[in-house]
Subunit: 115 residues, 2 copies
């Protein structure tokens, strides 16, 4: 083992009720995270880490994920998307286009997902 | 703004007392994180994110940090190292060699820092 082939950060942020921006998880627990971990293990990927992170600051696209070193961002990820992310992206090296956050949305106040 | 020029993950993990591996923070708070945020802001870097993460799994080198997309790992980081990381690495693009975790230590059970 060495540097991770893929290091996947899954946002676990919880904001207080009534906060102006949304939360990626309701209670700091993420079924997306659990499913990604299980699918990664099932695929036999030993040099990939599925990592909990706190706020990734793309809150309007939550639940959000970023995969490094390739800097691929995913948004509105559901637990049932985990298998496809692992198989297509982490195993086959093909990011799942339908789940990507557009580069033009990342860190952009002009992003249409922001109110 | 767009994709981050640098996305810096700072481990905030806390293990229970007596756990076999060490913790990166004693109480989930990180002065390294705070100093990195302040130095980044002072340097005028608007396209860098200093991010809280949970366990980065390089626990014997804690407090640990990883900077993406370049996958540079730092270990045994002290709050007073933050200014140098920001100025040298994030501004000038030169990783701080004295703080790097050796690639041969990353994810390696042969790492001499592991008991």
């Amino acid at each position: 083992m060495s540097l991770y082939d893929h290091h996947v950060f899954v946002c676990h942020n919880v904001r207080p009720e009534g906060a102006p921006r949304p939360s990626c998880t309701a209670d700091g627990k993420s079924e997306v995270f659990t499913q990604l971990q299980q699918a990664t293990k099932a695929a036999g990927l030993t040099n990939v880490r599925i990592n909990k992170s706190l706020c990734l600051d793309q809150c309007e696209h939550g639940p959000t994920i970023v995969v490094y070193p390739e800097a691929v961002w995913y948004g509105f990820v559901k637990p049932e998307d985990a298998a496809e992310i692992v198989e297509e992206h982490l195993v086959n090296g093909r990011p799942v286009e339908r789940l990507r956050i557009a580069d033009s949305c990342i860190n952009s106040k002009a992003c249409p997902h922001r109110g």
